[in-house]
């Protein structure tokens, strides 16, 4: 099949333990190049752990992860990241005692990465240019989120793992963030975790539903939007609350 050429990330049946807890009990997913794929599911279903398992921060005990045709299991997180994966964690994890500029520069994998990408990054997030010298702990939530995404763009990454970009942001900022992620997907592949169903549905082409540590459903986002039964079964209340305004 020619389709396998287009698959950047191939996760098959991974099992991850955190301490003695069996968090992921068989998650499989495939992410196509230059697409936006979203992981959906209830709180605690294992979405964040899936991202962390791909990156090797919580290495899976079983299963296989292929990135760009290369196997990831057994590698350390820094090696995996250096293969071209950018990570935007939940709660952003901005370095508070570094300035905005330093937060970007620390992500360089080669000297000059930031200078090369500066136009692109500041084109996406013009605010960051203005805030360049400000310390990380003086940023608002929205600014932190922009910085977290920008930080993942400094090095030459092929895949971005973005965890809850809309969390705690005002609607207008969510709109901006969506615009930015959409622009990114022209050159990059994005795997997203998103609780905000509205945002997810407008952004992503493909979806995977994770429930109780297993990937239970997948398909094209366009189909899911009309499948009330499926939404209700796996995503339940969270969708109605956040998507209800539409």
């Amino acid at each position: 099949m020619t389709q396998s050429q287009d698959i950047l990330l191939d996760v098959s049946a991974i099992h991850t333990f955190i301490g003695q807890f069996h968090i992921l009990e068989g998650v499989s997913l495939q992410v196509q190049r230059n697409s936006i794929t979203v992981l959906l599911g209830r709180n605690g279903a294992g979405k964040t752990t899936t991202l962390k398992s791909i990156l090797g921060l919580t290495p899976p005990r079983q299963g296989r992860v292929l990135f760009d045709g290369r196997e990831l299991q057994g590698k350390r997180a820094y090696d995996i990241a250096a293969m071209g994966i950018g990570y935007v964690p939940e709660h952003r994890a901005i370095f508070r005692n570094l300035s905005v500029g330093e937060n970007l520069r620390i992500a360089e994998r080669q000297k000059g990465d930031l200078d090369r990408k500066a136009d692109f990054i500041f084109g996406l997030f013009p605010d960051l240019k203005r805030l360049y010298k400000l310390s990380g702990d003086h940023l608002s939530g929205g600014q932190q989120q922009m910085l977290a995404v920008a930080r993942a763009l400094v090095a030459d990454n092929k895949l971005l793992l973005i965890d809850e970009p809309s969390e705690g942001l005002a609607p207008i900022l969510i709109e901006q963030m969506m615009e930015a992620i959409r622009e990114l997907s022209a050159t990059l592949t994005v795997l997203l975790v998103e609780q905000n169903f509205l945002m997810a549905s407008r952004l992503a082409q493909f979806y995977y539903i994770i429930d109780d540590g297993k990937s239970v459903h997948c398909g094209e986002m366009a189909d899911l939007v009309h499948d009330e039964a499926l939404i209700h079964r796996y995503l339940g209340a969270s969708v109605r609350v956040e998507g209800g305004g539409q």
């Binding site: 921060l57 299991q73 057994g74 350390r76 997180a77 820094y78 990241a81 964690p89 994998r109 930080r151």
Partner: protein, 497 residues
């Protein structure tokens, strides 16, 4: 407006400095200039020493939450290594080829890996093979050093210091090259066997990148070259060092002590600390045990006697310099400062402490390493997720910390006795310094060191003046710690989280 923000960000620091200043003014007016200046300068000398131990402690604790109870021993190792280099480096130069050869062998991991990874070894035999390799390595390693008279070599240093008239005459004959060369070769082999075990023969899940193999090959080549040079120059080098100008020899001794401390730190982190990051309590216990082991080893090699290292010529010309400028020209033993005759070498220690603080602060603030350290203190996982090898940064920082302590040790050697208990003495003070200043803060460590050093010096002064027990100055450090912790449980500049 700016001033207000500055005050808000630095109020603790400024308050402490203001209190010190006020105490200083009171002290100056009641004690009179000369005793005050003398006591203050003595205090600064102690502060500098405390800072050198505390800097590494606080750095290592801040980044990796490791309490290194062997930090005092690192100061001691630095002192012994530097002193040995300065008085009679035969022992160190005899040891160097062995150490470099072992390091070259250990660095072979990535070089061996592509070769052994594809060996068709059934899974059940892999761990047995690894264990066998390590046992073999130990046997080869022991064979390599069989018959080396470590103690005899170390004791030549004693002779040199005790006789002291002509250290060159004491440069001892060493084992002839014809029989010595086999030792580094065997040690290289032992290291390579361990590296082979690390490469996990037959296990394809360990991935080593091609460029990593290439870099390691360069490293091994370089180390082998250094080993060869060290082997050939083993006899000539001590004589060359001993016939050197004393000041140059002292600078090299500072460097040698620091490198030995840093190298030992790196080895300790990689072998003992890093497997235990999931068990912090074990790390504490293992570093404590290490402190005992190092102290015993030192007594084994050098006996429990205290040694006195002579000051380098730049600080030992008889007579008093009128002022600091005259000292720079004359290299006198003592300098006149505001009417006080003060040993010039102690001023050097103060300068070294200040220099270390400035260098450390600038490194943390302006270099990439400093940036990574500051980021890692807050969120190691995110740093790793950016593609940075945090493990290697840990090793580097740990070795920096032990290197700084070792530099402090060799710096202190010319005016404190070099003896096996010096480690414990400075460890305690270093810990109190770090607790006062706030775990993880370099500026905090500097402030803590300043407080402790001054308290010790003024405590001694008061004890002498009112004929109290000198224990009062030793108690003062603990009292200060208790007071600070009452007001600021996280230390003066500690993180409040």
């Amino acid at each position: 407006m700016k001033l207000k923000a500055f005050w808000r960000e630095n109020n603790t620091l400024l308050t402490v400095l203001l209190i010190l200043l006020a105490l200083g003014v009171i002290g100056w007016s009641t004690m009179g200039t000369q005793p005050f200046v003398r006591t203050t300068l003595s205090g600064f000398t102690l502060s500098a020493l405390y800072f050198m131990v505390a800097a590494g402690l606080t750095l290592v604790f801040g980044l990796m939450d490791v309490l290194n109870f062997s930090q005092g021993s690192m100061l001691m190792v630095g002192a012994y290594a530097g002193w040995q280099f300065y008085t009679n480096p035969t022992f160190l130069f005899g040891l160097a080829p062995l150490v470099f050869a072992l390091m070259a062998g250990l660095a072979m991991m990535a070089v061996i890996h592509p070769w052994v990874a594809k060996w068709p070894i059934p899974e059940s035999w892999q761990s047995r093979l690894r264990a066998g390799l390590i046992v073999l390595a130990v046997v080869v390693g022991v064979l390599a050093v069989v018959g080396v008279d470590f103690r005899g070599l170390a004791s030549t240093a004693m002779v040199a210091t005790m006789v002291a008239a002509d250290p060159l005459a004491e440069a001892t004959p060493q084992e002839p090259l014809a029989s010595f060369w086999i030792r580094p070769v065997l040690l290289f082999l032992a290291g390579a066997l361990i590296a082979m075990a690390q490469a996990r023969p037959g296990d394809p899940t360990v991935v080593v990148h091609k460029d990593q193999s290439r870099r390691s090959a360069f490293l091994v080549g370089g180390l082998l070259l250094v080993t060869a040079i060290a082997t050939l120059g083993r006899e000539a080098a001590p004589i060359a060092v001993l016939s050197m100008n004393g000041n140059l020899r002292f600078v090299l001794a500072l460097l040698a002590g620091t490198l030995v401390g840093a190298g030992l730190g790196a080895v300790i982190e990689m072998t003992l600390i890093s497997p235990l990051y999931v068990r912090p309590l074990y790390q504490i216990i293992i570093t404590m045990g290490l402190a005992f082991v190092i102290s015993e080893l030192i007594q084994l090699l050098w006996d429990p006697l205290p040694y006195a290292m002579s000051r380098p010529p730049a600080f030992s010309q008889p007579g008093k310099a009128e002022n600091i400028w005259a000292f720079f020209r004359g290299g006198n033993t003592t300098v006149d400062i505001l009417g006080v005759t003060f040993p010039s070498y102690r001023l050097f220690i103060i300068a070294l402490g200040v220099l270390m603080f400035v260098a450390l602060t600038l490194t943390l603030k302006y270099t990439r390493l400093g940036m990574i350290i500051r980021a890692g203190v807050q969120d190691r996982e995110m740093v790793e997720a950016l593609g940075i090898n945090v493990k290697r940064i840990f090793t580097l920082v740990f070795s920096m910390g032990t290197g700084l302590a070792a530099l402090g040790g060799i710096g202190a050697a010319p005016f404190v006795p070099v003896e096996p208990v010096m480690g414990d003495r400075y460890l305690m003070q270093g810990f109190i310094t770090v607790v006062i200043g706030g775990m993880g803060s370099t500026t905090g460590a500097a402030i803590g060191a300043l407080l402790l050093g001054l308290a010790r010096a003024f405590g001694d002064y008061l004890a002498l003046k009112f004929s109290l027990t000198p224990a009062i100055s030793e108690a003062s450090t603990v009292i200060i710690m208790a007071l600070v912790l009452l007001v600021r449980p996280a230390g003066l500049l500690g993180r409040r989280d």
